[in-house]
């Protein structure tokens, strides 16, 4: 058959027979083939470990980003409470970026999970074939004449050789996917190391400024902020949704009467 299946079959068969051609003596073929199989099994285990490592790395980045989201959310609430609409908007924008990044990490982790599962399945299959080969190998050595042994060896070795080629393909695909993700993870890591993540989170200029101003807000009036945060939690939607123009008035009110529900602010919400 020519098509896609034919092409694939030809390539695999060529690789398998290349593997078998290396030894002439039947007993030697058996032992050589068996040692190759064990080697391949080790490779698969290493491949699985690589995928797990890559997955763990992404999961660590996920938890960092989750902390960022919480932090930015808090900052946004602080800014809203302090009437700093622009700052709140910035913080929410960064939070949005971090959340988008989180979603993409989620997808990648799920994909690596699937790769890990596939490789684990492949490993089990290969292990079963190798075990069958080991049993057969001893039988062939003990019971058959050289000519007959050759035929049976070739049959058994082709079966297991194919499984090895198959596992090799599964591994390569897993490695390709993992490499792609590593590159991406490295890029994210670089951003983080460069301080951009407190900041990716912070796109555009003036990011330091914002952090500073937010810090000022929290340090100058820690108690006020705590109250404001609570107020924000009670009605964050309304406060965040109010247009920028109303923000300045809200700020004055919030600072003027931190312990009381701000009357002016309530009017804004109801209007």
């Amino acid at each position: 058959m020519a098509g896609l299946t034919g092409r694939m079959s030809t390539v695999v068969k060529a690789k398998v027979s290349k593997l078998l051609d290396r030894a002439e003596d039947p007993a030697e073929t058996l032992d050589y083939s068996y040692s190759k199989q064990l080697e391949q099994l080790q490779n698969v285990k290493k491949g699985i470990a690589d995928v797990v490592t890559a997955k763990k790395r992404l999961q660590m980045q996920e938890s960092t980003l989750q902390q960022q989201v919480v932090k930015l959310d808090t900052q946004a609430r602080q800014a809203v409470a302090g009437g700093k609409e622009d700052l709140a908007r910035m913080a929410l924008e960064r939070k949005n970026v971090a959340q988008t990044e989180l979603q993409s990490l989620d997808t990648q982790v799920a994909e690596l999970e699937a790769q890990q599962q596939k490789l684990t399945d492949s490993e089990q299959k290969l292990r079963a074939k190798i075990e069958a080969f080991r049993t057969k190998k001893e039988v062939i050595k003990a019971q058959y004449s050289a000519a007959e042994a050759q035929v049976r060896i070739s049959e058994a070795a082709t079966g297991v050789g194919e499984e090895m080629a198959d596992v090799g393909l599964a591994m390569q695909r897993a490695v390709d996917k993992t490499e792609n993700m590593k590159a991406r993870a490295d890029a994210v890591q670089e951003l983080e190391t460069a301080g951009a993540f407190d900041d990716i989170t912070a796109i555009g200029p003036g990011e330091d400024d914002i952090d500073k101003q937010l810090k000022e807000l929290s340090s100058t009036s820690a108690v006020d902020d705590e109250l404001a945060k609570m107020k924000g939690e009670l009605g964050p939607g309304g406060a965040a949704a109010s247009p920028p123009g109303l923000g300045a008035g809200g700020a004055g009110d919030a600072q003027g009467s931190p312990a009381e529900p701000p009357p002016a602010s309530s009017e804004e919400h109801s209007s």
């Binding site: 896609l4 050789g161 194919e162 599964a170």
Partner: protein, 91 residues
């Protein structure tokens, strides 16, 4: 005949050469046309046919396959490479 689906396992199929051939041709046409959607459905149909009309081989059965199908998650790009390049199997 024995058909292997890469990354999945081997199946024993009887008297289905003609159908397989047709399904395979449909895949090839889609690849040549660069038709992503057509390729996906044609290849899925080929895989579904093998799975439904074949009987899975036991895990400890040591038999070479008559036909080997690429992995089910094969992309159109990979399929094209399978025809015109190095192919999928690493050295």
């Amino acid at each position: 005949m024995i058909v292997r689906v890469s990354g999945e396992g081997q199946y024993r199929l009887d008297h289905t050469n003609g159908e397989l051939h047709q399904l395979d041709n449909a895949v090839v046409s889609a690849v040549e046309a660069g038709d992503e959607g057509g390729f996906r459905s044609a290849y899925d149909a080929l895989l579904a046919f093998v799975r439904s009309s074949g009987e899975p081989l036991a895990e400890d059965e040591l038999t070479g396959s008559d036909l080997i199908l690429p992995p089910p998650d094969l992309s159109l790009e990979e399929a094209a490479r399978e025809f015109h390049g190095e192919g999928l199997i690493p050295d």
